[in-house]
């Protein structure tokens, strides 16, 4: 190679010899030690060499290389492949006998492959890396959405068939699991449901207290808390808590079983995964969510009572008798109707997402996140639907 128009040394030179590059008219000569720790500097040098490269070939002379680690060699090979895709030849010269097999492995070169064939291969690879166009992205996403919708319809169909099978032949259900599920999803959730709903009732009463005092309507805090909590907030807040606890758990559990082939194993034992996994979980939620909602009704009203006694000068008897006057059984009933719909939504979304999991732990994590987000959206939709429906019906 001709004399050197420019020399660049590794920034690690201060700590001892690393690598040295001399640019020549036909290529670069690299010497010293090629280490992964210097990869950033080496990569910049090689990019410069690639920009300066002129047809037909760039010569990369490695004769002065004392040692090279695998990562640094990978960069050299990548440059060679990039040049091949541009129709230029990159001649790696002076590769020691020790390093030659490693270079061949990094190139993934077919044995005996002539340079034009290699160039074609890398051009194809370069073409494949082209970013997807907007139309293609929209198309791909549409197809994915279509496939997702098809999966949901298939799941609902499977569920309906399994529910009928279990109804006809109760032995096909996995009933033993319902009791522990009720305990896990219901009893274990009681403390957090009570705490959150007490605070919700408390905050609602506290916010309203100032306005009510201005109008001398302190007692009406009971009406506000009683009706708003039983009809709206208790079922919704309870469902949100159950979604975060049990919905996520259902998706993660079924998703983990799916990726560990346990769902397939169930099928090869002649058992229906829907009957075995979904129906017990749905049933457990249908039992616990209304019960938790009832507890939430009571504790939310007590939250309002705490504010009534401490800041509005109400008596317990006065507050509770106002509650008795304003809250009719149908207020509690509408909340319970909503809670049943919420329970169904949580169970179905979580199970469907669990069965859709694939690809290991990351896939399970994604499906669990999707479960919580989708379910929260569905809960609000259902709540809106019922609120409008009850108002329209005048109940």
């Amino acid at each position: 190679m001709a004399a050197n128009p420019g020399t660049l040394e590794s920034p690690r030179r201060a700590r001892g010899p690393a690598f040295r590059v001399d640019f020549g008219p036909s290529g670069v000569r690299i010497g010293g030690k090629l280490e992964l720790a210097d990869a950033g500097a080496l990569w910049r040098v090689l990019r410069t060499a690639v920009r300066r490269a002129k047809p037909p070939a760039l010569v990369i002379d490695l004769e002065g290389v004392e040692s090279a680690d695998a990562g640094a060699l990978a960069l050299l090979v990548e440059v060679r492949n990039e040049l091949a895709a541009r129709g230029l030849r990159a001649d790696l010269r002076g590769v020691s006998e020790t390093l030659a097999p490693l270079v061949a492995l990094y190139e993934g070169e077919e044995h005996g492959e002539p340079p034009p064939a290699r160039a074609r291969r890398f051009r194809r690879r370069a073409r494949r890396k082209k970013p997807e166009g907007m139309v293609a992205q929209i198309g791909r996403r549409t197809v994915e959405l279509g496939a997702g919708a098809k999966n949901i319809v298939t799941f609902v169909g499977d569920l309906a068939v399994s529910a009928m099978t279990v109804a006809k032949r109760p032995a096909a259900g996995h009933w033993r699991e319902v009791t522990p599920l009720v305990e896990r999803m219901g009893a274990d959730a009681v403390p957090i449901v009570l705490l959150i709903n007490f605070l919700v009732g408390f905050v609602m009463a506290f916010q309203a207290a100032r306005q009510l005092t201005m109008f001398g309507a302190n007692l009406y805090v009971a009406d506000l808390v009683g009706i708003a909590h039983t009809r709206e907030l208790a079922p919704l807040m309870t469902a949100i808590i159950v979604c975060g606890r049990s919905g996520a758990a259902i998706a993660a559990e079924i998703g983990s079983m799916k990726v560990a082939e346990e769902v397939d194993a169930l099928r090869t034992l002649g058992l229906s995964p829907v009957a075995w996994l979904v129906i017990p979980r749905t049933l457990a939620l249908l039992i616990v969510v209304p019960i938790l909602t009832l507890l939430a009704d009571v504790i939310g009203i007590l939250g309002g009572l705490a504010v009534g006694i401490t800041t509005l000068g109400l008596t317990t008897t006065g507050y509770l008798s106002e509650i008795k006057k304003s809250v009719v059984p149908f207020d509690v009933g509408t909340g319970l109707i909503k809670s049943i719909a919420f329970a169904l939504a949580i169970a179905l979304v979580a199970s469907q997402q669990g069965f859709a999991a694939s690809g290991g732990a990351e896939g399970v994590g994604k499906r669990t996140t999707t479960t919580v987000v989708t379910t929260l959206f569905v809960l609000v939709l259902i709540d809106t639907f019922f609120t409008v429906l009850f108002r329209t019906l005048g109940v």
Binding site: M257, A260, E261, D264, A265, R267, T268, L269, G270, S272
Partner: protein, 244 residues
């Protein structure tokens, strides 16, 4: 040879992607049959289609003279051992083995436990009957999964990579177990593997799948196929790279 598995012109794949096409082979009753091939050749995928977990793109599968397996129709006439064991994590080993008995027989619980214990003894796992799968090693999980697959005494068992990831001693013990079950019970075995030593030890016949050919490139006695003149076949059986 009376076939227990009869595959005719089978094509398998996902959506528009055909992984293997026009596969035809038979597994005889009482035979240990190996499905061989390199990584990504489609061995485990083929097994999923053979046991009815997926629907073929084309072709016919007949298992035990009952046509293509329909897993939605009830208990299939075979047992399956999955690659990682696929034991149910919320159940003990004994409950895993006893599950099929509990669901498909009217045996009382103590009889189910006795049978589960016997099946676990068969695979050298009797002491683990009350353990959870998370407490077991990889080899123990696979052995427990074999016990579960044998719970209802099927005539045929499918095994997906039983020796993968096991130490040589455990692997040899598993092979010995399969040979014993085959000889004593007349159990037909379809095993997906790429462990050559295991294949030579236990398989009566095999098919070799090839990713590029998208099909079977060799069928027969593995000991005879070792000397095949086809470079794809000899490379596999002699552990050579295709370049020599």
């Amino acid at each position: 040879m009376e076939p227990i598995v009869d595959v005719k012109h089978l094509s398998v794949g996902w959506g528009d992607t055909v992984l293997l096409e026009d596969l035809s082979f038979q597994v005889g009753k009482g035979e240990v049959f190996a499905v061989l091939g390199g990584s990504g050749a489609g061995k485990s995928t083929l097994l999923r289609f053979l046991v009815g977990l997926e629907r073929p793109l084309a072709g016919e599968i007949d298992v035990a003279g009952k046509g293509a397996p329909d897993l939605d129709a009830g208990l299939p006439p075979f047992g399956v051992m999955f690659q990682g064991g696929a034991l149910f994590g919320s159940m003990t080993v004994g409950e895993n083995v006893g599950l099929a008995l509990q669901e498909w027989t009217s045996l009382p619980p103590d009889a189910i436990r006795a049978i589960a214990r016997a099946k676990l003894r068969l695979v050298g796992m009797e002491d683990a009957i009350d353990k959870l799968p998370s407490e077991l090693s990889g080899g123990m999980k696979k052995r427990a999964a074999i016990a579960r697959a044998l719970a209802l005494d099927p005539d045929l068992i499918f095994l997906d990579e039983p020796s993968a990831g096991l130490d040589p001693v455990t692997s040899a013990e598993l092979d010995e177990l399969l040979v014993t079950l085959n000889k004593t019970l007349g159990l037909s075995v379809v095993v997906v593997t790429h462990e050559l030593e295991s294949v030579f030890d236990i398989a009566h016949r095999c098919v070799l799948l090839d990713k590029e050919a998208k099909g079977i490139v060799a069928e027969g006695d593995p000991r005879e196929l070792r000397g095949s003149s086809d470079p794809r076949v000899s490379a596999f059986f002699q552990r050579r790279t295709r370049h020599g």
